[in-house]
């Protein structure tokens, strides 16, 4: 190293001796260049910042959505086995002692716990007035602090309870999730009707609680006559398979009374739910955006740097004519590009990190995995790669400029273009198009490489927009819920004052809905555990009444049931059992077996796609213990929704039910997916537009002298603006024509991946979502991006004074 430095010093010495003071002159020229090229530097900073931020954000997102459950489980030291103990069957000491069982590597608890019912809230949001409405059961855990060796709970908002009347809600425990801090809950069945205030929201991927209070509060909140219990959380030396978890459970509970454990949850159940539940569609979707973002950033960064350095070719020529060596010149022009780029990388890292934090917290919420942290390796690697890209591009471009002969370099910027560019110029000049338009149209052909890079950038913007539009409309078609009843009315039947809602409640609610004038049609569904052939005891049956053919579940193949004894089943169930349409599937137990004919395959992500959907009439003979969940109602045309609602609510008052305005289905997931795709699309379109702005601005600056000439011979400002705008028009058209089909292809590639993630084949109406008009509009989006990007430089070209432009060298 020292030898090299010495050699360099010697070289410099020799050069200095040959041309006294050339070093300082060079520095002066470079500095003058920097100030004269302030605009170029600004463009470079802007473009680098934008593409760096986009790349970092995209990469962080890619890392964040990679096996999000496993990441969160590892981060939170998730509970591999969660056991609920009956406090009357085992003492605290006995439960605490289970922590020392063989195989246990960490444990938390015992935490006092109780189950609460029929509490009320003062929550009143537009469309959902829950005031005084008895809410469903909630498992309350007494815990002194969120942290611990197992189930290190992540507070995502507010703080942990510090006083008796404070409560923290678990993320994803509806309907209270999303209620603002300060919302109060009243527990009428607990001694003294206590009222608690929500002071925080926390995430536990191990799902160990619905809500937390301080430990000593649990017994005070337990309704009179209700025994409290203990919750114990364990991690084991080996718990990778169901068999291992069962063995661990046996080891832990050895020596305890038989009925001491009232409930047990294995982490494997949660993991498979997370991997195949509806949320599993998010990772492939965001992954696609992430990859688009990274590629787009690289293209834009490289092309704009290249253009900037190329723009200094003339200056390089002058310096070489003055006696600078090629090496000096290359170093200097590379440095000129590098300084703003480094600033841009730094700024972009800041913006990208801030954006990634926001996006990750959103995504974490959607996936119910807390807040995925920033990946530090990515935080370091992406900026370093960006710097490497910047340096490589700048040095390569400067090297090319440095190798140019002095004469060529001096002529650069005014050099006649390639033969093909000229041929196009000549042909266009012969057309009947207004001259400014034909001049603009020919412009991309004079710099084919730059135009290609720009086209590519716009292509990516169009792909992103097309993809996002497609995914949004696919999601719209892919909602699998009776609660998807936008514009209609929804009735929720829930807990009553004395405990869970009853079958009587649901019968009363159905009757009220039926009797209500204005009801055009209604569907209600109820899910309950039932043994299902090929699935076993864990099976679920969902039966529908009221609606006939009014189905909310997209059908992949076959049709919705038309009467009793027919079944519609999700793809996953078909795959798991090896059954096909037309086969018989038997549900029920012991003497009550119901052989059902499979008539349809549905897109259904509930119960991990392991439920059987059938007409309620099939099970008329079964006495349900589980009540109705919700009723979806369509109103007769012309019926006033508000009047209908208040009248129905009055009728429902005795049945512990509440009627609200129907929302679009998919709820939170769809909302967040929608927000994410809008954000990502905007970001990509913005970066693409930034690329266009930078590129067109550099191009316009390079041609400023020509623009002066055009104006001097009579081109009006408007004609000049039109000329610059049309110079990106053809490029926008091409980009739209390429980008829209590619976006559709990406959609058609990613959607089945999203379907696979939830173990389902996608129904055709989820896949084929693009309307011809929509595609045409998206293709036009390419022109829009190009024109928006070119608007600034075009306006500048129109405004610049002729005399100023002519004076510019």
């Amino acid at each position: 190293m020292s030898r090299r430095r010495e050699r360099r010093r010697a070289e410099r010495h020799a050069a200095g001796a040959r041309r006294a003071g050339s070093g300082s002159v060079l520095r002066k020229v470079a500095r003058a260049g920097a100030s004269r090229r302030r605009l170029q530097s600004l463009i470079l900073i802007l473009v680098t910042t934008g593409s760096m931020a986009a790349a970092l954000l995209a990469a962080q997102l890619l890392a964040g959505v990679d096996a999000p459950f496993d990441q969160a489980f590892g981060r939170q030291q998730g509970s591999e086995l969660t056991l609920q103990y009956d406090a009357t069957a085992a003492t605290t000491a006995q439960v605490a002692a289970t922590a020392h069982a063989s195989g246990v590597t960490a444990s938390a608890g015992p935490f006092p716990t109780t189950v609460l019912n029929g509490y009320t809230t003062d929550l009143n949001m537009p469309g959902l007035d829950l005031t005084d409405f008895p809410l469903p059961q909630m498992q309350l855990i007494g815990r002194a602090a969120p942290g611990g060796p197992v189930d290190d709970v992540e507070l995502t908002a507010g703080h942990w309870p510090t006083a008796a009347n404070q409560i923290v809600i678990a993320e994803g425990s509806s309907p209270l999730d999303g209620s603002p801090m300060g919302t109060t809950l009243t527990f009428p069945h607990s001694p003294g009707d206590p009222t608690l205030t929500i002071v925080g929201v926390a995430n536990t991927v191990s799902q160990t609680a619905d809500a937390w209070v301080l430990p000593q509060e649990v017994s005070a909140l337990a309704p009179a006559g209700t025994a409290t219990g203990y919750e114990m959380l364990y991690r084991f030396a080996s718990a990778a398979t169901a068999a291992e978890v069962t063995a661990d459970r046996t080891a832990v509970t050895k020596g305890l009374p038989t009925h001491a454990v009232t409930d047990a949850e294995s982490w494997l159940t949660l993991q498979s739910a997370a991997q195949t539940g509806g949320n599993a569609i998010i990772p492939p979707f965001l992954g696609a955006f992430g990859i688009l973002g990274v590629i787009l950033s690289v293209i834009i960064l490289a092309s704009v740097i290249n253009a900037t350095v190329a723009a200094s070719a003339r200056r390089i020529g002058i310096l070489k004519a003055l006696g600078c060596t090629p090496a000096q010149v290359v170093r200097m022009s590379a440095m000129q590009a590098l300084i703003p780029c480094v600033a841009g990388v730094a700024l972009g890292t800041v913006f990208g990190t801030v954006g990634a934090l926001a996006l990750l917290s959103n995504t974490g919420q959607a996936l119910n995995v807390g807040t995925p942290p920033l990946s530090m390796p990515i935080e370091v690697l992406v900026p370093i790669s960006a710097l490497a890209l910047v340096v490589a591009t700048a040095v390569l471009a400067a090297g090319r400029a440095g190798r140019m002969s002095v004469l060529d370099a001096l002529a650069a910027g005014r050099t006649p273009t390639s033969g093909r560019g000229r041929a196009v110029q000549r042909r266009l000049a012969r057309t009947r198009l207004p001259r400014p338009v034909s001049l603009g149209l020919a412009a991309p052909f004079t710099r084919p490489a730059r135009a290609a890079a720009l086209t590519l950038a716009v292509v990516f913007g169009v792909i992103a927009a097309t993809f996002a539009v497609g995914v949004a409309s696919s999601l719209d078609h892919a909602t699998t819920d009776v609660s998807d009843n936008k514009g209609g009315v929804l009735v929720y039947i829930d807990a009553n004052a004395s405990g869970p809602p009853t079958a009587k409640d649901s019968a009363a609610a159905l009757k009220a809905v039926e009797a209500q004038p204005g009801t055009a049609a209604y569907v209600s569904s109820i899910s309950y555990p039932m043994s299902v052939q090929g699935v076993g005891e864990d099976g679920t049956v969902t039966e529908f009444s009221g609606g006939g053919a009014w189905s909310f579940y997209p059908i992949v193949s076959g049709h919705w049931f038309t009467g009793p004894n027919q079944a519609v089943v999700p793809t996953h169930l078909l795959r798991a059992t090896g059954l096909h349409l037309g086969d018989t599937i038997t549900v029920g137990e012991d003497g009550r077996l119901f052989p059902l004919t499979i008539v349809g395959e549905a897109f259904d992500t509930h119960q991990q796609g392991m439920e059987v959907l059938a007409d309620a009439a099939t099970f008329a003979s079964v006495q349900h213990t589980v009540p109705l969940g919700s009723i979806s109602i369509q109103l007769k045309p012309g019926v006033d929704q508000a009047a209908y609602l208040s009248s129905l609510n009055a009728a429902l008052s005795s049945s512990n039910s509440i009627a609200t305005v129907g929302q679009g289905g998919g709820g939170k997931l769809k909302l967040i997916m929608g927000a994410l795709s809008v954000m990502m699309t905007l970001m990509l379109v913005l970066v693409a537009a930034l690329g266009v702005i930078g590129s067109v601005m550099l191009d316009t600056r390079e041609r400023v002298h020509d623009i002066g000439v055009y104006k001097a011979i009579g081109m009006t400002p408007r004609q000049t603006t039109a000329m610059v705008l049309t110079s990106v028009l053809s490029l926008g058209i091409v980009a739209g024509a390429i980008g829209a089909p590619l976006g559709i292809a990406l959609h058609d590639y990613v959607m089945p991946l999203m379907g696979n993630a939830v173990q389902s084949t996608l129904p055709p109406d989820v896949l084929n979502v693009y309307q011809p008009l929509e595609v045409a509009l998206l293709a036009l989006g390419g022109i829009a991006i190009a024109l928006i990007g070119a608007l600034g430089p075009a306006g500048w070209a129109g405004r610049i004074r002729t005399a100023t432009a002519l004076r510019t060298e």
Binding site: D706, T716, R718, T802
Partner: protein
Amino acid sequence: MTAPVIEFKQVVKSYENGPPALGPVDLTVSAGEAVAVLGPSGSGKSTLLNLIAALDRPSSGEITVDGVRVERLGEAAGAKYRRARIGMVFQFFNLIDDLCVLDNVLLPAQLAGVGRGEARDRALTLLSALGVDGYAKHYPGRLSGGERQRVAVARALINRPPLLLADEPTGALDTASREDVKELIKDLNEQGQSIVLVTHDEELAATCATREVRLLDGRVVSDRALSAVSR
């Protein structure tokens, strides 16, 4: 005397809070005159020309060219005014390198919306009158300086402007080419073209101008007709 083509009344041009670069100047040029504007570097010659061409606006005073009040024109109106009334020739030709000679010459006509056939006829006529019709399909980069300046003159004249402005038209030319352009300007004026010519070149002024205006520090210090003899 014929009607004035250019009329300057108390025209002053100063750049940001400096002393006036030009003026106050009163000047009247009649149709058919060829005025040579002479003066040392920095004396305001180009400024004068830019004001006539509406490339710049005076700080005060009135400029009338061919009946148009030039100082009142906006950018767009200025462009249309230049199209119709002004032909400009520059020291460094200012041809568009990406366009062939013919397309360069056609440009002002096309911008003005002159029909293609007519514009082409005019362009070819001009090019052959100027002796460069052989280069119609060539690109400016391959032409000599004198040839380029002829093309620039053709481009300046295609819309038949009443006034031709030239800023150092021979400044970038070698002796032979200079003679060429000198003859050209003289011929044009003899055919009735009004010309304002900015130059350092005393001989050029003497050969082809009918009148000589000398500027010093932005003011007219001498204004005299050149006798036919000296021409």
